[in-house]
Amino acid sequence: MESLTPLTSVKPEFQPFKRWQGFVVALVVALLIVFLPFPFLSPAPSARIFRIEASNFEFSPSEIYVNPGDRVTLELISTDVVHGLSLDNYGISLSAEPGQPAKVTFVANQPGIFRFRCSVTCGNLHPFILGKFQVGQNTLLWRAIAGSILIIGFGFWSFRK
């Protein structure tokens, strides 16, 4: 049995531009979300060493976290076949096989989160062997979450009568 909606209730229309002040506020907040630098302090840079073992089909550890400015040494150890490690954005590429590990040292001066991938064909799931290398805070994710909240807030605000 259907319920009858009273004819007198009017659903507030979606009118984002009717009150331009709100729209401007939303725009300003959006720009802040995109451009505001992160206010946290990162610890002093130090030297970090990571032994990454590559196998079919994973890196172990697969998630690495460092502070911006850290002097990072990655050692790639392969446990079964020839594997590679290519770190997005840093232009680092290694390859190793059992008995012959490889090492590289670099400064993690670009903050953010980057994937590292296997760069030597090593089997079926080779294109999907992935790890995460995070330098400092994942600011993009935080900004994206803030953006999502802004969108919902803006949406609800626009529906007010």
Binding site: E2, S3, T5, P6, S9, K11, P12, F14, S55, N56, F57, E58, F59, S60, S62, E63, G84, S86, D88, N89, S93, G112, I113, F114, R115, R117, S119, T121, N124, L125, H126, P127, F128, I129, L130, G131, K132, N138, L140, L141, R143, A144, I145, G147, S148, I151, I152, G155, F156, F159
Partner: protein
């Protein structure tokens, strides 16, 4: 209703009315699928260097998700080679109007109509995706199977029953086509009312009566109706995005189910293929082993339990909060429209991560499609390790946020009670949660 009738432009008219351009493209895609199947069967075993794997799962999939669907709706279906042999046989000709052809022309059983089979088909694909996407031989067999299945079904059932009710790709293309800026509609309904011949319906391979076309879901943009309409009453229009969602009042439960399956699939595929969890990848890959069965259980739990459960819960709370005794089933159906833009943008964002990085494989495989040492275009040795860039991460965020906003509008539109804000809140929470999950999986 903002519409730009592009079929009025002379060169567009010729392009659409003349059967040759479409036929030539179809000939290319048809021989292309044959070539792809053979390349998959005879080419290199290494998946990333096999034409079949790269072209089906990277090139074609990207083209579908980034161009054909968002901009053309069901445009791929008009040139899709899979059902083509069946359609030619049914029609009795390659470039003629529908005539006496072969096929029993049975009606598709009522019980199997709707999106249900397509949703289940997509789940099954997902269970075996880790193996299929990476194995050339398996990709070829799957393609071959689908082509033969479509052919056989075309000889039993009428028209494009396979495309309408079984093809999993067709399922989600039809679902998301409702947001596309391209549509085929009748110009003046009054003209149709007086026209008794209905040649449009008789010639439509999709079994659609153009006058009743309210959404893009069932129309495969094959232009047959446009060609045979003696009153020139059919138009192809450009329109804003998401129009069908605005005008459609009734969504069916099977559409909602398909929408939910698409959401859970993009979450799970993002976890498997773009995540860093090696155990998950190995479990998904080792078909038949115990870890794989655990993966299957988890997959089904998410697709059939968690996501639908959360959706039902959100809708139910919304109905309760709105303080009315409106039907839950009604609300479940209507709120489902939010799943469409949410899912579409999530799949586009997934494709950006998945395919952009692997696009480097396309050039080498074009030069040496069969792994014989050829170098047709000089790009055989051009492979490089693709990478995600801050730019791709940024556009994925934008895409997902657009999806969130768009689904917000849809939730709003579907909230019909006297307290629409309260009714909308839980469902918006659902969309928000989904967006956060996708953000975390793709850029976290």
């Amino acid at each position: 209703m903002i519409r730009l009738e592009i079929s009025r432009i002379p060169w567009v008219q010729t392009l659409l009315r003349n059967r040759w351009p479409q036929f030539l493209v179809r000939a290319v895609t048809f021989s292309g699928v044959i070539f792809t199947i053979l390349a998959g069967l005879m080419g290199p075993l290494v998946g990333s260097y096999n034409f079949a794997v790269i072209f089906v799962w990277i090139a074609w999939w990207t083209a579908l998700k980034l161009f054909f669907i968002p901009f053309g709706g069901r445009s791929w279906c008009s040139i899709c080679p899979i059902p083509m042999s069946g359609e030619w046989l049914q029609r009795g000709g390659l470039i003629t109007r529908a005539g006496k052809g072969w096929g029993m022309g049975k009606r598709w059983p009522r019980f199997f109509r709707g999106n249900w089979l397509q949703a289940w088909g997509f789940i099954i694909i997902g269970l075996f995706s880790a193996v299929t996407l990476t194995s050339a031989r398996l990709t070829a067999f799957v393609l071959l199977f689908v082509v033969l299945l479509a052919l056989v079904l075309s000889l039993i059932f009428e028209r494009r029953s396979f495309c309408n009710y079984l093809c999993p790709i067709g399922g989600f293309i039809g679902l998301y086509a409702q947001t596309a800026p391209l549509e085929l509609r009748v110009k003046d309904p009054a003209v149709c009312a007086e026209h008794t011949e209905k040649s449009c319906y008789i010639n439509c391979p999709w079994g659609v009566y153009p006058l009743t076309l309210k959404t893009n879901t069932d129309c495969g943009l094959c232009m047959e109706c446009l060609r045979v309409c003696s009153k020139d009453n059919i138009a192809v229009n450009l329109r804003p995005f998401g129009e069908d969602l605005k005008s459609k009042n009734q969504f069916r439960l099977d559409e909602v189910f398909l929408g939910l399956v698409m959401l859970s699939s993009v979450l799970i595929d993002s976890a498997i293929f773009l995540g860093s969890w090696g155990d998950l990848k190995s479990a998904a890959f080792a078909v038949g082993s115990i870890p794989w069965w655990i993966f299957v259980a988890a997959f089904l739990l998410v697709s059939l339990g968690i996501l639908p459960g959360l959706y039902i819960f959100a809708v139910w709370i919304g109905v309760r909060l709105s303080g009315e005794r409106s039907s839950l089933k009604q609300a479940l159906s209507n709120q489902g429209q939010a799943l469409i833009p949410l899912g579409l943008m999530a799949w586009i964002a997934f494709t950006v991560s998945f395919a952009f990085v692997k696009f480097s494989y396309v050039l080498p495989v074009l030069s040496d499609p069969l792994g014989l040492g050829w170098n047709l275009f000089g790009s055989a040795h051009l492979a490089w390790v693709g990478e995600s860039t801050p730019f791709t991460a940024f556009i994925q965020v934008i895409i997902l946020l657009v999806g969130l906003f768009w689904s917000f509008l849809s939730v709003w539109r579907a909230s019909e009670s006297s307290q629409p804000i309260k009714q909308a809140i839980p469902m918006i929470g659902f969309c928000f949660l989904f967006t956060l999950s996708m953000l975390w999986l793709l850029i976290g």
